[in-house]
Subunit: 396 residues, 2 copies
DNA sequence: CACCTTTTGTCGAATATCGGCGTTAGAATC
DNA sequence: GATTCTAACGCCGATATTCGACAAAAGGTG
């Protein structure tokens, strides 16, 4: 039987070392309220598991310098996978989120879960050998998918662009190959997690906006990721905007933000004006080349997005909005458009402390978030307790 | 020194009885993983504190029937205060939120914090004697204020309609009279808490909308109340709607929802059409009398609100939206307007499982939420540990 | 009314934690 | 460079807490 309550085992002490900050035994004793001797016992236990490691000494205050111990990020690894519509990015990261090996490959999500997940399993195995880690070191897998996901069960629900995935039990399928916790979530949600971790660790309310073919957002409110009742919170791409009147979206509705400010719409507009663009990359290149028509189009898209984000600001009251996705790499033009609208329209009090900036995590937001999600689960008290026994120390 | 970690004291066991469900010692042992004998020790401790009480016996399965014990809601009381712009509602409730005595009085919030809080202190004392409880039974105070509040500190920040309150340390001021935890929050936020508790206990994502002179909302997402960076999350009253073009709001902006669909706007319109209405009560009465002009005006306000809520649905993805406030009492007309717009405009997947209904908590949402907030704090492990020693059992 | 089942309180045993003490290791001082 | 001083580390007996078993209690059943 598992212990539900009571006791202060090694896994509980470990929670105080999760942040990676080195601490002395005395500091831990102070933090936990336990005696120094008890702390030492737990420390030994954790050292045997390899989860923590001595890391030099702190400055002496006159006597013997205290030994510092800290999370040993290299002790175990997790898989972080960011699967898009046409690409898949998979990484092995350590417990601090540092990427040990990673790969970006073409991938057709529409080929269905079996083919895609088999590819993923194969890729994971390849990457693990590439970075010289036995499969036993893997403690969790985090996956982002381009559609709504019921996070508790890990099953996609009603995904519009993932035929064959509806209700597919992703964790169960992968668990046959990797018997570890498998966490699945919407890709924009994990990007928000990654963005916060990489750029805004102390921010409790943040909106990450992905601008690309589609437009979506991940919302962290009160420090927790907002998933909503069906896992589609933050789905701002299909909010109607005034300028969209008459524009039909592929979702069937009319006037959706995505249909007006998504890259296909911008590209179509520019082609109509005689420009030779067909992909997002073309568009970004054109903007970077300084083409005024393209710049204006992108800036207008920023204004359209700003229109919707103004409403988001009233509803969520974030302190940071970050703009990511392929189109955000076309320089500051999109963000300029967003700022133009949000700062002039939003409530002054809400706008006063609001930063609107480019994504700091960039293309790695997805895997960063997937890594966070996996590590979070692996290092929880339950995860630690379930973790395999001791292992030879890494890099001695 | 306070214990930070370790140990499984009475307060931790108590958390398993918080919900008011009666349980047997054996059930608690199963839940906590502790031995039956240990449970008995803790139970005795809690019985002495008066926080729990034996409540009959469960069905026997053949042998001696197990004694059931449950939270004793009457053991202590909290104050729940819902202070509006012109009225103040104060209640003493027990730990289950049941109202023991309560009062609704006129009140001018603009008279400033000292006058209002002095009145509140006096009222609390009166109510306590009215329900025959010594002041020692009071374990927490929850207060809702009609403006932005920094919940951690309990200080109003930049309140537009509460002159003199900006930055006033409400908890510190009241703590001189009542040395217990004092929790302060925005009034709509606590109404959302109250609404959920009274009508939707298992709902993790819910939006409570208050429609009255102003229009505001409280959002619970992922099970936690969304306050935002400045405590103004859910402030939907000042979102711009298309139909508001040219209408100036008292906030200084143009086209705010509140300026179009708030009761003053509706009343002004009806007066323009020759109706004799001047207060919200008049308006409600007129609608209830079946006046088609008034009904149409209210329904249109519902559509305007629905316009904004459609966006909220995309962003928050709630499973329930409840409409409360003075205007919501004018029957189903507002809600019909809201539904008309939301169900036709929102993403089908999000709308499929979304209920839009009248508030179940009604006028008591505020005090209900304030009570929840106060009880939540009082019954937390820290609250229990800090609670005074044993007390004579109530109603024996 | 005796027997059976199940719960409950009690009590000794096992276990975990605490706090003091000697040891260790570096810094400051002479 | 030796000595002294400070503070942390680890060991160990003392102590508090929790566990597990047992007997008493309480009600149903034949």
């Amino acid at each position: 039987m598992t212990k539900i309550a009571g006791g202060f085992g090694a896994s509980e002490l470990f929670q105080f070392l999760r942040d990676g900050e080195p601490r002395t035994r005395a500091e831990l004793a102070q933090l936990t309220g336990l005696a120094r001797s008890t702390i030492s016992l737990r420390i030994d236990e954790l050292l045997q598991h390899g989860l923590i490691t001595p890391v030099g000494e702190a400055v002496s205050t006159g006597g013997r310098p205290p030994a510092q111990i800290a999370l040993n990020p290299g002790a175990r690894v997790v898989v972080a996978a960011d699967l898009g519509v046409t690409h898949g990015r998979v990484a092995i990261t350590d417990l601090s989120g540092a990427i040990l090996s990673h790969v970006l490959e073409d991938l057709v999500i529409a080929n269905g879960p079996v083919e895609v997940l088999d590819w993923l399993a194969l890729t994971i195995t390849k990457l693990m050998t590439e970075c010289g880690r036995p499969l036993a070191d893997l403690v969790a897998v985090g996956i982002g998918l381009p559609g709504p996901v019921e996070h508790e069960s890990g099953k996609p629900t009603n995904p519009p662009i993932m035929p064959g995935w509806d209700g597919f039990d992703v964790p169960a399928y992968l668990a046959e190959t990797f018997p570890v916790p498998i966490l699945v979530d919407n890709d924009v949600n994990i990007m928000a997690l990654g963005e916060r971790a990489m750029g805004w660790p102390d921010t409790e309310d943040i909106i990450y906006v992905k601008v690309s073919t589609g437009i979506g957002s991940g919302i962290i409110g009160g420090g927790v990721l907002q998933r909503g009742a069906q896992g589609i919170a933050g789905d701002i791409g299909h909010i109607r905007i005034p300028r969209g009147t008459g524009v039909v979206c592929k979702c069937g509705n009319e006037g959706c933000l995505e249909a007006v400010a998504g890259s296909p719409a911008i590209i179509a507009d520019l082609r109509g004006a005689g420009h030779d663009v067909s992909t997002v990359a073309d568009l970004v290149a054109l903007v970077k080349s300084g083409d005024t028509g393209a710049i204006q189009a992108v800036r207008q898209a920023g204004r359209d997005i700003g229109e919707v984000l103004t409403v988001c600001v009233s509803i969520v009251n974030p302190s940071v909005i970050t703009i990511g996705g392929a189109l955000a790499q076309a320089g500051e033009h999109i963000i300029a458009g967003v700022r133009e609208v949000v700062y002039s329209r939003a409530t002054p009090f809400a706008a006063e402390y609001l930063s609107i900036v480019q994504s700091r995590a960039g293309e790695m937001a997805g895997v960063a978030g997937a890594s966070i999600m996996a590590v979070e689960r692996a290092l929880s008290p339950e995860g630690i307790d379930g973790m395999g026994a001791a292992k030879a120390a890494t890099g001695d």
